[in-house]
Subunit: 682 residues, 2 copies
Amino acid sequence: MPTHQYTGIDDLAIRTLKLLSVDQPSAANSGHPGAPLALAPAAHTLLKSIKINPKNPAWINRDRFVLSNGHACALLYSMLHLVGYDYTIDDLKHFRQLNSKCPGHPESHLPGIDVTTGPLGQGVADAVGLAIAQANFAATYNKPGYTLSDSHTFVFAGDGCMEEGISSEASSLAGHLGLGNLIMIYDNNSISIDGPTKLSYTDDILKRYESYGWEVIDLNDNADDPNALLYAIHQGMKSTKKPTFIRLTTVIGVGSLLAGTAAVHGSPLKPDDLKQLKKHLGFDPEQSFVVPQEVYDFYRKTVTQPGIEANEKWDKLYAEYQKKFPEEGKEVARRLNYELPSNWDSYLPKYTPADKALATRKLSEGVLEHIHAALPELMGGSADLTPSNLTRWQGAVDFEEPSSGLGNYKGRYIRYGIREHAMGAIMNGIAAFGANYKPYGGTFLNFVSYAAGSVRLAALSGHPVIWVATHDSIGLGEDGPTHQPIETLAHFRAMPNIDVWRPADGNEVSAAYKVAIDHRHTPSILALSRQNLPQLEGSCPIKAQKGAYVLQDVSKPDIILIGTGSEVSLVVAAAKVLADKGIKVRVVSLPSTDAFDRQSLDYKLSVLPDGVPIMSVEVLSTFGWQRYAHQAFGINRFGVSAKQSDAYKFFDFVPEGVSSRAEKTIAFYKGKEVLSPVHDAF
Amino acid sequence: MPTHQYTGIDDLAIRTLKLLSVDQPSAANSGHPGAPLALAPAAHTLLKSIKINPKNPAWINRDRFVLSNGHACALLYSMLHLVGYDYTIDDLKHFRQLNSKCPGHPESHLPGIDVTTGPLGQGVADAVGLAIAQANFAATYNKPGYTLSDSHTFVFAGDGCMEEGISSEASSLAGHLGLGNLIMIYDNNSISIDGPTKLSYTDDILKRYESYGWEVIDLNDNADDPNALLYAIHQGMKSTKKPTFIRLTTVIGVGSLLAGTAAVHGSPLKPDDLKQLKKHLGFDPEQSFVVPQEVYDFYRKTVTQPGIEANEKWDKLYAEYQKKFPEEGKEVARRLNYELPSNWDSYLPKYTPADKALATRKLSEGVLEHIHAALPELMGGSADLTPSNLTRWQGAVDFEEPSSGLGNYKGRYIRYGIREHAMGAIMNGIAAFGANYKPYGGTFLNFVSYAAGSVRLAALSGHPVIWVATHDSIGLGEDGPTHQPIETLAHFRAMPNIDVWRPADGNEVSAAYKVAIDHRHTPSILALSRQNLPQLEGSCPIKAQKGAYVLQDVSKPDIILIGTGSEVSLVVAAAKVLADKGIKVRVVSLPSTDAFDRQSLDYKLSVLPDGVPIMSVEVLSTFGWQRYAHQAFGINRFGVSAKQSDAYKFFDFVPEGVSSRAEKTIAFYKGKEVLSPVHDAF
C-alpha cells in the first residue's frame, strides 16, 4: 500500500495549490475559495494517483477527472497549470474575466477539462457516463495482452451534489451496473450557502451509498492526512464490481479566518484574511501567484513525465494492436479520429408514398435497425420506456455487469430505469469520453423536461447526444395532459446549439438521424409520434435536412401552410379542401427550425417568400412560430385525456379546422403588403 | 391494535375494487390494470384508516391521499365511487374518454383528488408539501382542546417513483423535517415497463429510506394480508418525529394470466383473461361494472358515514373556536374562503425615480419584508440560495422539527436544500393543502429548469406558487454560461397558465407580486436581476399589471422599443441616443407577455399600434419575440463568464448597440406597410 509517501515537497505542493486557488478569486474579486482550500490535499493526492498526459489532453486512455462541485474550479485550474496543461500563470490571473481560459465554472472545451460542471449533481452523473463508456470501449476493443483501455473516472463532489436528485439517480444506476472503474470523493464540508447543511440535509450518506451498492469508505477527520485518502483511492482502483464512494470530512476554507462557515464559500477572502493565510502557508503575504520552482519540478517528475511515458507506451501498444488486429484497429482509429464510416448513411431507409403509414417512433426503430451494425459508436437506451420508445434493435445486448447474467459491458443498450435526468447527463458523459460515441436515449417528449438541466449542458458543451422523444403531442391520446407536451419544443427550439426535429414521415426521420449523427458538437431531440402517419408525396430525405422545404407546390399560391410532424399530412388534407374551393396552397414541411435557421436568406425566401400569407399548423404552443409564419394555429392550453382522434377534433385539428383558419388568414392579409417573416433588419 | 378486523365483506369489497379497476381500462381499451389489481387490498385497508368526507371533499381536516403512481388511477376512481364521492358508474365507464371525470391520470380539479399525478415521483414530493402545510397549519392555529388540524397524508408510490430523483430529494427533506404525519406505502411489484426492475434498479430501498431518517416497515409478502398493512398504517399514524415508509411486496396484475409481468402494466386485460379473472373473483364473467349493494352499504357505514360525522364534529369544534379565539378564527375563516386580507396590497412598496437603484431581487426582498406580516398564508424558502435570492424576511422562523433547535412547525421559512425539483413539487403540495397557502421558493432562474416537471404540474393543476428566480441573465456575470439563462423564459412563456414576470424596477416588482398573489389558480415565475437597476421615470405599479405599457412616449414615434427587466433602462438610454439624432422613440416596458396576452386587442394596439416598427430588447433568446415585435435584439447563443458590464458589452447590449439596431430597423421598414404583430386573423 502506498502509505507514508508524503514528504515536505508534498506539503509544499499542497500549500501552493491552496495559494493559487485563493489568489484567483482575489484577483477576480469573484469566485469560491472555500472548497479549494479544503480540497487541496485531496487534489494533490489525486494527482499522485491519476494517469494523465498534460501534453495530450485527448489521450483516450487517460483517467478522467470530474469536478462535480464545479464552483471549486480555481483548484482545478491550479492543478492543470501545475502539471503542465496549457494554462499559464497569466491565464490564472484572468480567472472569471471575459474570454478567459479560466471561466467561472469549468467548461469542457478547455484543455484538461473532461466535462462542464457547475450546475450541481451533473458531474456525478457525467462521471457515470464516462465510466460506462470506458467499460464499453474496453470490453469492445481490449484483447489479451493488448489493454487499450483501463482508465478510471474520478469525481470530486460536494454536499450540494449529494442533495440533488440527479446524483441519486445516477449513483443508483452506477451501483446497479457495478462500475468498478468509478471512484467518487465526497467533500463533506457540511456547509452550503444557507449555512450548516444540517439546516436541511441529515442523510446518513454512507448508508445511502451502501443502499446503492457502492463500496463505501469513510475517512472521517482525515482530510488533511493524504495518506489515508491515497490508500482509499488505491482501494477504489482495485475494486472491480462496485464503484467506490470515499467520504472525506473537511473544513471549508480551512486556514481562512472564516473557516467552517458559509461566508468563505462564494466570496474572495478579505485582504487581511488572505495575508494571514499566506503567512500561515509559508508564503510572502505581499506576493500573489507564486509557485516555487521545486513544485513545478516535482509535478513534472511525478505526474507529467510519467503521464507522457504512459502515453508513449500506450502509443506503441496501439501501433502493435493495429498490426495484430487490423480490422478492429481500423475501427478504433476511425473512432479516435471522430470519423463516421463513409457509407453509414447508405443504410438509412427511404420511403415512397406507396409505403404504409407508420408512427415516426416506429420509423425511428427502423433507422436504428438499419444503422446499428455500421455504427459501433451508437450506444442507446431508454428511461424504462423501451417498448414505447422503440429504441432497442433486435438482438441488442444490454450493457450490464457481466456476472449479473443480464448482459455484458460490450452491450450497447442501457436500461436507464425511470431516471430521465441522470440519463441525460450519462449520455453527456458517454459522449465526453471520446471515441466518437453517439449516445441516444428514449423517453416521452414530455419527460425530456425532467432532464432539462442535462439537455442544457449537452447543448452548452456540444455533446452530440440524441434524444428519442416519442409520444410528442396530444396525439398520444388517453394518457392525457400530464403526458401531452405543449411547451416542450418551444423550450428546446429556444435553446442554443441543439437541433429539434419533428419529422413527418419515414424520409424525414432518416433526414433527422442523418443530421443528428453527422453532428460532432450539437445534440438533437427527435420528437416522434405515437400514432401512425402516412408516407408523404413530395417528402425528401435530402431536402428535409435543410429544416424546411416545399412539399407540395402550386403556382401563385394564395397561402402557404407550414406543418410539422403529424400535422403535415393534416395540412396536405386541408390543402385539398381549399383546392376544392379554388384556393391555391403551397405546403411546406418544417421538421426543424434549427436546421432551417442555418440556411441562407435566399433559401429561406425560396420556401417562405414575400407576398404570400403564411400560417403554421402544429398541435403545440404557438409561441415562437411568428418567426416563420404570420399566423399560427396551435394549442395554448393543456391537452385532454381522450382518444387521439377525439383529442384532435376537440382542438379542431381536422382538415376543415385548418382550412377555415387558412381562409381567415387570407382574408385578413388581403390587400395588405405581406413581408416574409424571415427577414432580419440587422 | 386493529388486527383481525377483516371479514367476508372486506374480501368482497377488495374484489369489487379489483373488478371496477379492470373494467375501466377494458371499457376504454386503454389504461393500466396491473397496479390496481396489486394494490386493491392496500386501497381497501387505507379506506379503513383514512378520515375523509366524500360529501365535502374540501374539508380542511380530511386526510390527504396521493396516488404517486398515477397510472393506477382506475383504482382511485373505483375507491372514490365506492365511498360516495361524486363519481357515478357511468363516469367510470367513460374512463379516459373526452371530457371524462376519469381521465388517464388523476387531475386535481376533480372531486377527491388531492394532487395531479402521473409524471413519476411528483406525488411523493407533493405529499411532503401536503404534510408540511398540515404541520404548519396545525402549529399555527391549533389551541389546547381545539385541534383544528390533525390530518395525515398517505401516499401510494411505485417502483418508478423510487427511481426518480425527485422522490429522493423530497424523501431526504421529509426525513430531515421529521414529518410524522406522512405515511408512504411503497408498492414494490418489481416490474416496470422494460420488464423486471432488476434490469436497472437494485437499491436496498429499506436501507435507503433509513438513511433519510424514516421509520421503515417491511411487509414482505404480505400484500394480500391486509391486517399486516393495517397494523403498519396505524404504526405510521402514531409516529411523531419520523415519516413512515411501508414496503409492500406485491404481484403486479395479480389474478391475471399475465400476473407478475410487464405485459399487464399498461394495456387492458385481454377478453379471455378478464373473464377468467372475474370468475376467479366470484363475479359473473359476462357482466361489467357490477357493485354488490352490500359493498356500497359497507363503505357507507365504515367510511362515508364516519367521515361525515367527523366533519360535523369538526364543524362544531370550529364554531366554538370562532367564539373562543375570534382573532385567529377570523383569520382561519378568511383563509378557508381563499380570501386575501382586503388591504394586503397596501403594503406593497412604491418607488419614484429619486429612489436609489437596486437589484430587483433586493426589491423582491423589500416586498416580502412589507407583506409577510399581513399574509400568514405566505410560506417561503429557497433551494439553498437564501443570501442570493434574498427570500427570507428579517426574523423569519425556519420550518423545522421543533426538537431540532433550528425552528418549529409554525415557522414559515423552508430550508429546501439544493433540491429544486422537490422544492417545486413541495410548493405544489403546500398549495394543494388549501387554506389559501401561497408558497414561494427561490433559486437562480437557470435552475428553475431543474424543476421543470413540477413547474409544469403547478401550471396544469393551477397551484398559485411563486418562483423567486434571481440571477436572471448574463447580468449575473462571472458565474458564466453554466448559470446564465438564455432559453429559460421562452420555455415558461410558452407554457400555459403560468405568468412569467421580468420586472424593470421596484414598482414593477410590486406589480408582479400583486398579480401573482391575487391569482388563485395560476403560478408565477419572477425573473429578477442580480445587478442594480434604476427606478424608472414613468414606471407604474398599476399599468405594469397589464403586462406591458408605454413607459415613455413621444408623438408620432419612428420606432417603438420594447424592453424587459434589466433592459428597460438600457432602452431608455438608447432612446436618448436616438433622440439626439432626431429619432423619436416610444419606450414600452413589457414585464409579462402572459399578463399582456390577457388584455383586449384595443389595449394591445394602444401600446403596440399599427404603422410603427417595433424592436424588442432582451438579453435572452429572441425566440417568441416576433409575437410582439418586428425585430428582436437578443442572445441566441450561450453566455460568457465575465464581469456584468463586460458581458453586456460583449453582446453589444449598450445604448449604441441598441440604437444602431433601432436605426437599421427603421431603415428596413421605411416605406413598407407596418402592421402590429398583435393581430390575430382567427
